[in-house]
């Protein structure tokens, strides 16, 4: 009882932190925007953590699904669709629908091969996006208008945007926790440790992994869709392998296999970049070694540093 209570302390604090950002800063647009950006990326990172942290499936193509969600919103917007549920639904669907065939092929491989085949698919989608000349090709595409919902404008002001994203983040996080703890999650986790054992226990492990992969894709799609609304812009850069790499860094930095670690990681990466860049143009000279130190410090990343003694 007390263990689980303590384990939910950090996520609760995180949630409360995000909820209070606008209050504490007096609605300072800059900070709120920063928080929105962090939360969008955090949603995608949670999706990745689901398969990476629990299923040990290191996808190096996560940005492709993120980008798919973003493009779904971008493309539908240019065709005049503005309904938020429709756009966001389409974003989720786009991510999930792409993840299905890609996962089906990729899951034939293991370990590092899996990393690389997901990268390959990510790159194919990246190049496809750059050749979408009808939608801006490499230059990307500006959204003509923001999505609306029942006559309201949920993404119009930074403040309402903030709380909408926060609600979705909480939903994804809680959903993720439920999945991890469920029977499905148990099979996924066990498969991450010893696949042969799980098959011998009677599970068609690939099917479970595929479902997890599709869920992660859908979550990334959601994040991408929100991000498109946030930047009012979509470009192939959203699908680049560097972006996939960033998602991995976020998850690993925050600590794999905890979900809230993904949120911490996203915040860590974005804030560090933001702060360090103010000191020096050569901020990577500091950021790089910080990552190295984090890696040396061990697997649980930021979550362990912050939550030391809470386990």
């Amino acid at each position: 009882m007390s263990i689980s209570a303590r384990r939910s302390l950090l996520p609760l604090l995180l949630g409360a932190g995000f909820a209070l950002v606008p209050v504490v800063t007096g609605g300072d647009v800059y900070t709120v925007n920063l928080a929105i950006r962090i939360m969008c990326l955090a949603i995608a990172a949670i999706g990745l953590d689901l398969i990476l942290g629990y299923g040990r499936l290191v996808s190096f193509g996560h940005a492709a699904f993120f980008g798919a969600g973003a493009y779904a919103v971008g493309i539908l917007s240019t065709h005049g669709f503005t309904s938020a549920p429709l756009l966001i639904g389409a974003a989720i669907l786009a991510g999930a629908a792409l993840a299905l065939p890609i996962g089906a092929v990729s899951l034939r491989t293991r370990g590092v091969y899996f990393i690389m085949i997901t990268l390959a698919f990510g790159q194919m989608l990246f190049f496809t996006a750059t050749s979408l000349s009808a939608y801006g090709g490499d230059d990307g595409l500006s959204l003509p208008a923001r999505a609306t919902f029942l006559g309201t404008d949920p993404f119009g002001s930074p403040l309402s945007f903030h709380y909408v994203v926060l609600a979705l983040l909480a939903l994804v996080y809680l959903g993720g926790r439920a999945i991890v703890a469920s029977r499905f999650g148990r099979v996924l986790r066990a498969g991450g440790e010893d696949e042969r054992r799980v098959i011998a226990a009677g599970f068609p492990i690939t099917a479970y992994r595929l479902v997890a992969f599709v869920i992660a894709g859908g979550i990334a799609g959601l994040a991408g869709g929100l991000y498109a609304e946030f930047t009012e812009f979509v470009s192939p850069a959203y699908l680049s392998w560097q972006r996939s790499g960033e998602f991995i860094v976020m998850v690993v930095l925050g600590g794999t296999g905890s979900l809230h670690g993904a949120v911490l990681g996203a915040a860590g990466v974005v804030l560090l970049e933001e702060w360090l860049a103010e000191f020096t143009e050569h901020w990577r000279l500091i950021f790089g070694p910080l990552l190295v130190l984090a890696a040396l410090a061990g697997r649980d990343g930021l979550a362990r540093l912050l939550g030391r003694g809470t386990r």
Partner: protein, 251 residues
């Protein structure tokens, strides 16, 4: 009087690795409730045969019938659902899971679909009860909450057995369950297997002749991929060819 239909039938199984014939026209059957020991020198092909039965290693030719159904090309997890359970020669456990959760995982496989996303599995009373019962049967009840990775070698063996047991299988295929067990644990394991003997058929691969002769109803001897002898323990013990190829003077 007709003999009951065997739970497992191997009909002319063959497996090559390159030019090496590892299973060479193997015929074998296991009757319901029978404890059938498979012995043979190192490298005779016992583990390979188990791999073929479990479906991890595809057979080059021959047929495998499980409870009457042809499963030769069926995928491994389907065979589990038909009542097959196996243990591994080198223990394979989910090291990060507690002993209980390892067993519960196996219980879950048999209990309908595991595509259930919301209810927390660790609080699933049905699964936990089944798991605890299986742990108790193998004498691990007290270690239920210890992460499997931290169990001693012997305890891991016991856990493997519990994982096979919980599925209430019709046939258990055990690859050297006594390996690494001390005298005392071996005795305990023999007792457990003996208790099980009525419930499920067992195909037992083991180099501990004490255990084999204590448990087996029937023994088959595999040498270089071929069954060279098959029969009741006494007959096997007396078989000159078996002594020469395998037993030596030990028994």
């Amino acid at each position: 009087m007709t003999a009951p239909r065997p739970i497992l039938q191997l009909q002319g199984l063959v497996k090559h690795y390159g030019r090496l014939r590892v299973s060479d026209d193997v015929w074998l059957d296991v009757a319901p409730g029978e404890t059938h020991a498979l012995i043979g020198p190192n490298g005779a092909g016992k583990t390979t045969l188990i791999g073929q039965i479990a479906g991890e290693i595809p057979s080059d030719s021959g047929r495998i019938l499980l409870d009457g159904a042809d499963v030769t090309v069926e995928r491994p997890h389907r065979r589990v659902h038909r009542g097959l359970a196996r243990s591994f020669q080198i223990t394979r456990l989910i090291g990060g899971f507690s002993a209980l959760e390892n067993v519960a995982l196996c219980a879950q496989a048999l209990e309908g679909s595991s595509f259930r996303f919301l209810a927390p599995a660790s609080r699933d009373a049905g699964l936990n009860a089944a798991a605890i019962a299986a742990l108790a049967e193998t004498g691990l009840a007290e270690r239920a909450d210890i992460p499997a990775g931290r169990l001693s070698h012997g305890e891991k063996r016991q856990l493997e057995l519990a994982m096979a047991l919980v599925a209430r299988p019709k046939l258990m295929v055990l690859d050297e369950p006594m390996a690494g067990l001390g005298k005392a644990e071996t005795q305990a394991m023999i007792a457990v297997l003996r208790r099980l003997a009525g419930q499920a058929a067992i195909l037992l691969v083991e180099h501990d002749m004490h255990a084999v002769f204590a448990l087996a109803d029937r023994i088959s001897v595999l040498v270089e991929g071929r069954i060279i002898a098959s029969g009741p323990p006494d007959a096997i013990r007396a078989d000159a060819a078996v002594r020469a190829a395998y037993l030596g003077e030990e028994v």
